[in-house]
């Protein structure tokens, strides 16, 4: 009997430790696992290295994790968005380290980490400030830079449905980083609107196979970042 089903978000994140590397799915609010992030804030782990495309908006979800002072370093491609003030303030005050990575390089570093590939050469960013200090190698007359894979201790991901074996399907463009982060983390935690018995999701439609998922927890009515911000919400 697989024990992947967790009764609530708090138990699902209970063992996140100080200094952990945590991948957080989402592109803007789409696919952001807000309830898992809020549970992580409650849980208290600090000195985290977060891997996520953005740094959140307002003072809920990912931005609230920054606001609570739990993030030592962020690896991302676009740390500012509309309504994002928390990270810029921390960054300017020297309280959070930023590793800026082009979006496709970020995705491929994560995919490579999950696929057992330690590094790869990419044409992206050649000749730009983001290539400084990186090995350059020429293939077929074109220069490429060496990028290193990313792995994580935990990944927090939002799905539409998951089964008790950890198979996941997503909602529209909320899929974004979910499938690759699930591959790259030791412990992948999925919050899904429905957790169903094994067999209810057609194997032909599974997007993330259960081997990449260690924990599933049902969050039937997940909050949307934009709606929380509109309502003036902050967390905690």
């Amino acid at each position: 009997m697989l024990q992947k089903f967790y009764p609530n978000v708090h138990e699902a994140v209970a063992d996140v430790f100080n200094g952990a590397v945590v991948m957080v799915g989402g592109f803007g609010e789409s696919g952001s696992p807000i309830e898992l992030i809020h549970a992580l804030i409650d849980q208290g782990a600090r000195d985290l290295t977060v891997v996520s495309n953005n740094c959140g908006s307002g003072e809920v979800g990912l931005a609230a994790l920054f606001k609570a002072g739990r993030v030592r370093k962020i690896i991302c491609s676009f740390p500012r968005t509309a309504n994002s003030t928390v990270f810029p303030e921390l960054y300017r005050a020297g309280k959070c380290e930023l590793e800026l990575t082009p979006q496709g390089t970020l995705a491929e570093r994560i995919r490579a980490g999950g696929a057992g590939i330690p590094g790869f050469y990419t044409p992206t960013a050649v000749g730009t400030p983001l290539a400084e200090g990186k090995e350059v190698r020429t293939f077929n007359g074109r220069p490429y830079i060496l990028e290193h894979a990313l792995r994580a201790d935990f990944a927090l991901i939002k799905g539409r449905a998951a089964d008790t074996h950890g198979n996941v399907v997503y909602n529209k463009t909320a899929r974004n980083f979910g499938p690759i982060m699930a591959m790259a983390a030791e412990i992948t935690i999925v919050q899904a609107q429905r957790v169903v018995p094994a067999g209810e999701i057609d194997p032909e439609t599974v997007v993330t196979p259960g081997i990449f998922v260690q924990r599933v927890v049902e969050v039937a009515l997940p909050a949307h970042e934009s709606e929380l911000i509109k309502a003036g919400a902050t967390y905690p």
Binding site: F27, G104, T173, G178, V207
Partner: protein, 218 residues
């Protein structure tokens, strides 16, 4: 710099002019700003499929009020729709499409373009700016044709088309064609070459506002 020309293309006309250069059957990625306007000007007899790097091909226009889904958005994080034939995919696949040369046309904005095709569009270089790059470097490294649509000069009248970019680069030698309110200009091995002038604009007008030599229309 002389006073801005009174004639020339509007933002919508610039978008319409870019749309003329997008062939039937193309897979296209549109950047934020003026590029977003292009989709509404593609001639009706052409089918163009829009890719948004957060994970969809077959992107459609914004939803009717109240019909949107916060989890169906474009790269500018605005709500969109999915057209018949659309597909969703994860980020590594999305950037494999970009980096792997599967996207035909990318239309980007610019801060500066040099006459060798270098593009600067991600950083103003100001010391207190929060650096953010997104997918711009991947798009210009991997898409088959990279078009830039931009105002010809900055708000304070400085040329954006220059001999050498002074701002941090997004990519080296990547731009194929530039569309401004004054002209369509190709980046060629010989440098900037005029392709077409907006109504009421002369080669001299454009040259005066361009920071590198401009070759005449072939």
């Amino acid at each position: 710099m002389t006073k801005a020309a009174s004639n020339g293309w509007t933002r919508e006309q610039m978008a319409q002019r870019v749309a003329m250069d997008i062939p039937n059957g193309s897979y296209v990625n549109l950047g934020i700003g003026i590029p977003e306007l292009i989709a509404s000007f593609v001639p009706e007899d052409r089918t163009v499929i829009y890719h948004t790097e957060n994970g969809m091909i077959g992107m459609g226009p914004p939803p009717a009020a109240g019909q949107g889904d916060p989890e169906l958005i474009n790269a500018g994080k605005r709500q969109v729709t999915a057209l018949p034939g659309a597909a969703y995919f994860h980020h590594a696949d999305s950037f494999a499409m970009i980096r792997g040369g599967h996207i035909d046309v990318s239309v980007l904005g610019a801060l500066q373009v040099a006459h060798n095709g270098d593009l600067a569009n991600w950083s103003t270089g100001e010391p207190d700016a929060i650096p953010a790059v997104g997918g711009a470097m991947d798009l210009c490294a991997g898409v088959k044709r990279v078009y830039v649509v931009t105002t010809h000069c900055t708000k304070d009248g400085q040329p954006k088309l220059v001999a050498t970019c002074t701002l941090p680069l997004t990519g080296q030698g990547v731009v194929d064609r530039i569309y401004t309110e004054m002209a369509v200009i190709d980046v060629t091995p010989e440098g900037f070459r005029l392709v077409e002038l907006a109504p009421g604009i002369t080669l001299d007008d454009v040259q005066q506002r361009t920071g590198a030599p401009l070759l005449p229309i072939m």
